[in-house]
Symmetry: C2
Subunit: 356 residues, 2 copies
DNA sequence: AATAATTTCGTGTGCGGACACAGGAAATAT
DNA sequence: ATATTTCCTGTGTCCGCACACGAAATTATT
C-alpha cells in the first residue's frame, strides 16, 4: 500500500522549487529545455515529497490516444478463447475514458500462415501496444522481434515465450496445475487401480500447455512413488468422435479396474460424454477449463473436478498492466501465475456467478 | 457491456437543445430554476442520445468530498479481520482520487456495548456511508435503523442481516461452504470411520457463520445417507489450550478409528497443533480461512484443505459498489456470494501470491 | 559594444464538468 | 409608465495537468 499524497500539485512543487509550473512539467516529463540549476531544484523537491500526479486530470488534459491490438485465435462461442475475449472487451470498456482503443485481430490456430499474415498487418498498423497469444512459437518470435525493434511494447496471454522481451504474462503454471490434478485424481485410489490418461492428437503440434500439464501430472506420480496404480495412455483424435468412442469402449473392455481418467486439454466434455454412454460414471474424471459442456458434466456428476483459471481476468489484467506501464508509469510484475482454481459440483455455482 | 458514447459532451447537448451549458447542467442534476420549455427540450435530446458523463472530468471538477466509515472488530495481526482491513485500505487508496475518505472504527467483538458506543459516535459523525460487520444482531439493527432514518447508506461485510435495508453484502454462503467441506472431508472414507467435529465455545454467542457452516456440513451427511461414519462432537474452549489438548488426547485414546476432523471457525491451526503433538497427522483435517498459522499447517501436510474466500477483496468491492451507487449512479447487485475457494498444499502458493 | 542565435522559462489555453453569479426577461406592484 | 420582485439563463471560473507560444535571459558572433 503506497501512501500517495494527493494534496501536492504541480503548482505546489513549482512554488517549493522557486520555478514555474511549466518548468516542473518539463522536468517531470523530462523533455529538456531546462537549465541544470532549475532541474536540480525541482528534482530535490521531488525527492523530498512524494508526488503522484492526479490521474484524472492527467488523462483529461492529455490528448494522446492509444491503440492496443490483441491477437488471439478465432474460435467458436463457448470456447476457452471466448472468455479471453470477454476480458479484453471488458477492459476496453473500462479504459476507454483513458483514451485507449482496443482492436481485436484473429488468426487460425491450426494454421501458422494466418498468424504470419495478421502479424504483418499489425506491424503496418503501428499500434501502441500488442497482446499476443503465442500459439506458434517461431512465428511469434518473428513478430516480437519486429515489435521490439520498433519499440512497441507487448504482453503475452495464456502462455509465454521466455526469450521475448514482453511486458507481462498472465497464465497458469501448467506444470503445477497438472500436479494438482494428479493429487486430486489419485488421492486414495484403491490398490492396482488403473488410470486412463488421454493425449489428443491435433492438427499441428501438441500444445505446450497440455504437455506441461502432463509433465506435472507424471511428476506427482514419480515423486510420491505411486507404483500401485497403472496408467493407460490413450491417444484420441481431435475430429472423429466415433473412432474415439470405439477406442474407449475397447480399453474399458480390456481393463476391469479403471477407476480414474484425465485429459489435459479443455475438452474433457468429450470424454465425459463417452463415459456416460458407456455407463461408467463411477470413474473419477478430471478436466480443465469451464467450457459450458464441461460444466454440464460437472453438475451431472460425470466429471469430478474441473481446474480453472479465469481467462477473462487474465486478459483484463494484461490490458490494465499495459496502461499502468505506458500511461501511469508504474512498475508492473512481469510473470503472473494465476491461481489454480479447484471446482466441483458443490462450489462451481458461486464461482461462475461471481462478477467483480 | 454497455456502449457508452464518450464523445458527447454537455456542450453538445446544449447546442442540440438550443440552450446553454448551464441549463443542461441544471436539468442533469435536476436542481430546478429551469423553465418547463427548456427542461423539455433538454430531456428530449437526452432521450435521443446516450449521454454518459466523463467521470474523470466530473470528479475533477466536483469539490464534493465523501466520508465513509467502516465498523469492524478490533483484532490481532494475522487475524481474519486483518485481511478485511487490508481490502478497505486498498480501496481507500484507489478511490482517494475520487474525493473519498475512509475512516476505520473498531469495536470489541466480545462486547456488544463497545459496538453500541462506537455506533453512536458514527451517527454523530454524519458520514456519507457506513460499512458494517454485523457481529451483534440487535445492536446492528439499532444502528441501521438510525442510518436509514438519516438516509445514510450502508453495506454489510462478512455476514448480513436480511431485514436491514443495506446496499450490498459480500460474503460466502456459509451453509454451502460447510457442504463443500463435508464433501471434501468425507469423500471415500473407509467404512465405520470416525469424524471429529469441533465446536468452539466462545465468549458471547456462537457466530452465525460457524453455525451455518455446520448446518451445511450436516446437510451433506443426511442428504447422502452417510450412515457408515460416526461423528464425534467435541466442544473446545476459546482460551485454554491445555484443556483442549487433554480433551483431544482423551478422545483419540477412546476412539481407535478416527480418520478425519473439522472445525468451523478460522482457528483450525489450534487443532492442527494438537494433532501434530499427538502424532496423528494421518487424520484428514479441514479448516477455514488463510490465517498464517493455518497456511503453515497446510504446507506441513497436517491440514488437508483450507476453504477460503478472499476477505480483502470483499471489503474492496464493498467500497467500490458504494462509490458506484453514490457517485457514478450505477446499479449494483445487492447480495454477492463470493466463491468458495478450495486450497491445498499444491495450489495455495499461487493463490496467495496473486495480487490483482 | 551591438546584434544575432540559442537556451531557458513563464504564462495562457483547453480538456469536460460543477457551480456561482450577474444580468435579462417576464411578472407583479406602485 | 416606472419601479420592484421573481424567475430564468448565459457566462465565467476553477479543478490539475499537458502542451504551445512568446518573452526573457543567456551565450555566441560580428
Amino acid at each position: 500500500m503506497k501512501t500517495q499524497n494527493t494534496k501536492i500539485r504541480i503548482k505546489d512543487i513549482a512554488t517549493l522549487a522557486g520555478v514555474s509550473e511549466g518548468t516542473v512539467d518539463r522536468v517531470l516529463h523530462n523533455r529538456g529545455e531546462v537549465s541544470e540549476k532549475s532541474k536540480a531544484a525541482v528534482e530535490k523537491i521531488l525527492e523530498e515529497i512524494n508526488y503522484s500526479p492526479n490521474l484524472l486530470a492527467r488523462s483529461l488534459a492529455s490528448k494522446k490516444h492509444y491503440r492496443f491490438i490483441c491477437l488471439i485465435p478465432a474460435h467458436q462461442v463457448a470456447d476457452y478463447w471466448e472468455s479471453v475475449e470477454t476480458g479484453f472487451d471488458s477492459a476496453a470498456h473500462d479504459y476507454l475514458q483513458y483514451n485507449i482503443h482496443l482492436e481485436k485481430q484473429y488468426f487460425n490456430q491450426f494454421d501458422a500462415n494466418s498468424f504470419v499474415t495478421v502479424s504483418s498487418q499489425i506491424i503496418q498498423n503501428k499500434p501502441d501496444a500488442v497482446f499476443i497469444a503465442p500459439i506458434f512459437r517461431d512465428e511469434t518470435l518473428n513478430l516480437t522481434r519486429e515489435l521490439t525493434s520498433r519499440q512497441i511494447p507487448f504482453s503475452f496471454i495464456d502462455s509465454m515465450i521466455e526469450e521475448a522481451d514482453f511486458l507481462t504474462y498472465y497464465g497458469q503454471d501448467s506444470f503445477q496445475s497438472g500436479y494438482v490434478a494428479a493429487k486430486l485424481l489419485l488421492n486414495s485410489l484403491p490398490d492396482n487401480a488403473q488410470v486412463v490418461v488421454i493425449r489428443t492428437k491435433r492438427k499441428g503440434a501438441e500444445s505446450n500447455q497440455t504437455i506441461a500439464r502432463k509433465n506435472g501430472f507424471m511428476h506427482f506420480i514419480s515423486e510420491n512413488g505411486l507404483s500401485n496404480i497403472e496408467l493407460l495412455n490413450i491417444e484420441m483424435t481431435d475430429d472423429d468422435e466415433n473412432t474415439n468412442f470405439e477406442l474407449l469402449r475397447e480399453v474399458f473392455d480390456l481393463n476391469s479396474n479403471i477407476k480414474a481418467a484425465i485429459t489435459f486439454n479443455s475438452k474433457v466434455c468429450r470424454l465425459a460424454k463417452h463415459l456416460k454412454t458407456l455407463n461408467r460414471i463411477d470413474v473419477r474424471l478430471i478436466g480443465y477449463d469451464l467450457l459450458e459442456e464441461n460444466v454440464k458434466y460437472l453438475k451431472n456428476d460425470v466429471v469430478s473436478y474441473l481446474l480453472a483459471q479465469r481467462p477473462d481476468k487474465q486478459a483484463y489484467l494484461t490490458v490494465r498492466d499495459m496502461c499502468a506501464e505506458l500511461i501511469f508509469k508504474q512498475k508492473v510484475k512481469k510473470i503472473n501465475h494465476v491461481p489454480i482454481d479447484i471446482l466441483m459440483k458443490e462450489n462451481i455455482e458461486y464461482y461462475m456467478q461471481f462478477r467483480e
